[in-house]
Amino acid sequence: MKAIADVVHTIRRTQLAVPCFRIEPSTRWPSLGLRELWEYRELLYFLTLRDIKVRYKQTVLGAIWVIIQPLFMMLVFSLFFGKLAHVPSDGVPYPVFSFCALLPWQLFAQSLTESSNSLVGNQNLITKVYFPRLVVPISAVLGGLVDFAISFVMLLALMIFYGIVPGWQILAVPALVLLAVMVALAVGLWLSALNVQYRDVRYTINFLVQFWLFATPVAYPSSIVPERWRVLYGLNPMVGVVDGFRWALLGKPESPGLPLLTSVIVVLLLLAGGLYYFRRLEQQFADIV
């Protein structure tokens, strides 16, 4: 029986078109290779799963760490910015106001850090097996989504506690999450590829993330930024994401309109550039990592 199955299998295999790979020197204008990426979607799934499973192994608190980080940041922000510095919060209780922004921020910051270090962290794979390298930073970004989902439940609990009921806008949350992930990926593609060549990037990331936090309306509302700086400020795509989150969950600001649109445009440009840059450097990753 087994022999017959084998034969049938062989026949079926020979009937399938055998793909042909051409191996050629590096090109200046590589294709984006998105179709191949799609063929490797299962690898994406398994790598993401690995990162999630491994992340909190051998920790005492385990997945509780996911909640602790934004929770403590929220407490610190509420104490220093809310209570002591009296930063305005658009009429929303400050803890909810800041926590609502911390969620997309954490998602972004974590995804960015992870994806920027992902290629260097997976160099054993890169030098030993072929697969579309894009899988690595993308899976690093996706890993952050689980943490986000857990803290999102926390946020809902906090909103119930303060008696805040979101409107229909809450339906926009998935799109906003996608946008946050895309910002992280867009920047992560640039940095991860750069990191392969220049290890300085690793040390720059923490600094960059901290700086970026203050350039994003997490601890304060974007309304306190002077009107004439708004356009420049809006070029930071996280402004649109965070404002969008507050709009979707808290109804403030009234409409995320312009900054959100700017975000989308900036992200698409960054992402296209990042993809291209990544693909171009990808050809040498195995030699220089």
């Binding site: 084998d6 062989t10 295999r13 055998v18 793909p19 042909c20 790979f21 051409r22 191996i23 050629e24 020197p25 590096s26 490797y40 299962e42 690898l43 799934y45 398994f46 790598l47 799963l49 690995r50 499973k53 491994v54 192994k57 051998q58 054993n124 794979l125 890169i126 030098t127 030993k128 097996v129 072929y130 697969f131 392969v196 060549q197 220049y198 290890r199 300085d200 050809q283 040498q284 195995a286 030699d287 220089i288 990592v289």
Partner: protein
């Protein structure tokens, strides 16, 4: 469908020398480079005179480039028909792995092109991507996906992989608790059950024990019978002879022979015997002029032959008591035996620049046919041994040691001079 699966045309790969020391740059270096670049260009132009109008690099600059790069692979062209099992042999650093890395699409060639018809599965390292914290089951799926298998394919093969690896009981235990053997079997098992049209295997099997190796070679020839093409690097010549149809020989980045496996391997072995041993090698206090191992009763070294090892060296300073220390290693660098000159004799002092020769005669050479290397240390008189940084490969030729059959790894490395006895014998082959 064409019946050529792999076609390479002029495949070349250039690496920067020293890449192992400074593989990645720090941004600082790039900035300093950029800052000094204009000055360098001016100085360069002044030195080379004015004429650089055609844009070609001046000979001096070209020579500098040639010196700081090496061609790990140099203009390699060949074709492999569908369904062939091909062994690739060559010394360490000859470019075998570079070739496999290019064909696996891990790295790009600098020049030339190749065409591969069919999906390629490559096994350049056992257990790539295995994560110690994950269970055997999780690792099988992860590793399978990394090697390019579909989830459904892994599920279908899962039981087969697990029974190949003999880890049924531990499949839900984190692999960090596995023994090395279990780990290796599971890792090889995943790769060995890929259904790609082409399988590329680097010398990964050398790490396991003999039983594991046997199992892997069996599995490979099984795969080969199903019409799939296999490229296979190994130092295990008898295994190659056993399972491959043809062989490629690569030396210093060039393809120097391709053809029927036994013939090609013989040619390769003869060539190894001829050169390499005469090149002089430097240590801090010695120049080693030659290292030789030869049989005193036949042109090639055979098991149980009287064998003579001799080393010629020239000290750079006066040495009170120069001493030779010879070890015989397997190709996997396992030490099999060593001899220390001092245990046998006391050498007279030598002056700097004086040629000195020392050696050993082994009455009956005990090693079975196969490949070995000599490791040489020299005592510089201050009680210190200096390693001669060169592995002197040699072969114990294929002969009928005990009787008719060819001995594989199953028999170990050492030949025993023995005869069988029994209460009643009809024939005694030893006579």
């Amino acid at each position: 469908m064409s019946n050529i699966t792999i076609r390479c045309e002029g495949l070349s790969k250039r690496y920067r020398i020293g890449a192992t020391y400074e593989r990645y740059k720090a941004l600082r270096d790039v900035i300093t480079d950029a800052a000094t670049a204009p000055f360098r260009r001016i100085r360069g132009a002044a030195r080379n005179g004015h004429g650089n109008s055609n844009g070609h690099q001046a000979p001096a600059a070209q020579a500098a480039i040639d010196n700081s790069y090496i061609w790990a692979l140099d203009d390699v062209s060949f074709e492999i028909p569908t369904g062939d099992l091909v062994g690739i042999v060559g010394r360490n650093g000859a470019g075998k792995s570079t070739l496999l890395r290019i064909l696996s699409r891990i790295t790009k060639p600098t020049r030339g092109r190749a065409e591969v018809h069919g999906r390629v599965g490559s096994l350049l390292e056992v257990g790539t991507g295995f994560h110690p914290e994950l269970t055997g089951r999780e690792n099988v799926y992860l590793n399978g996906a990394i090697l390019g298998m579909r989830k459904s394919e892994i599920s279908r093969k899962f039981d087969e992989i697990v029974s190949f690896a003999e880890v049924e009981k531990f499949i839900d235990t984190p692999v960090k608790r596995y023994s090395t053997g279990m780990y290796m079997r599971l890792a090889f098992g995943v790769a060995a059950h890929m259904e790609t049209e082409v399988l590329i295997v680097d010398e990964v099997l050398a790490v396991g024990d003999a039983q594991f190796q046997k199992k892997c070679f069996q599995r490979m020839s099984e795969i080969g019978r199903h019409g799939r093409t296999i490229l296979f690097v190994s130092h295990n010549m008898s295994a190659l002879r056993g399972i491959c149809k043809q062989a490629l020989v690569i030396d210093r980045g060039k393809l120097i022979a391709q053809g029927e496996v036994n013939h090609t391997i013989d040619q390769y072995l003869a060539q190894i015997g001829d050169d390499g041993q005469d090149e002089s090698v430097e240590t801090p206090t010695f120049t080693v002029a030659s290292v030789e191992i030869r049989s005193e009763s036949s042109p090639v070294v055979k098991t149980f032959d009287p064998v003579r090892i001799s080393v010629k060296f020239i000290p750079k300073t006066d040495i009170v008591e120069p001493g030779l220390f010879v070890s015989i290693l397997t190709m996997e660098s396992r030490r099999l035996a060593s001899l220390d000159f001092r245990d046998f004799a006391t050498a007279a002092p030598v002056k700097a620049g004086e040629v000195c020769e020392q050696g050993f005669t082994i009455e009956s050479f005990p090693l079975l046919p196969g490949f070995y290397q000599l490791e040489i240390h020299l005592r510089n008189g201050r009680e210190l041994f200096e390693l001669v940084p060169h592995a002197y490969q040699f072969e114990v030729a294929e002969t009928q040691v005990y009787g008719g059959r060819k001995l594989d790894d199953w028999f170990g490395r050492v030949g025993l001079k023995a005869r069988a006895w029994g209460s009643s014998l009809s024939t005694d082959y030893t006579d």
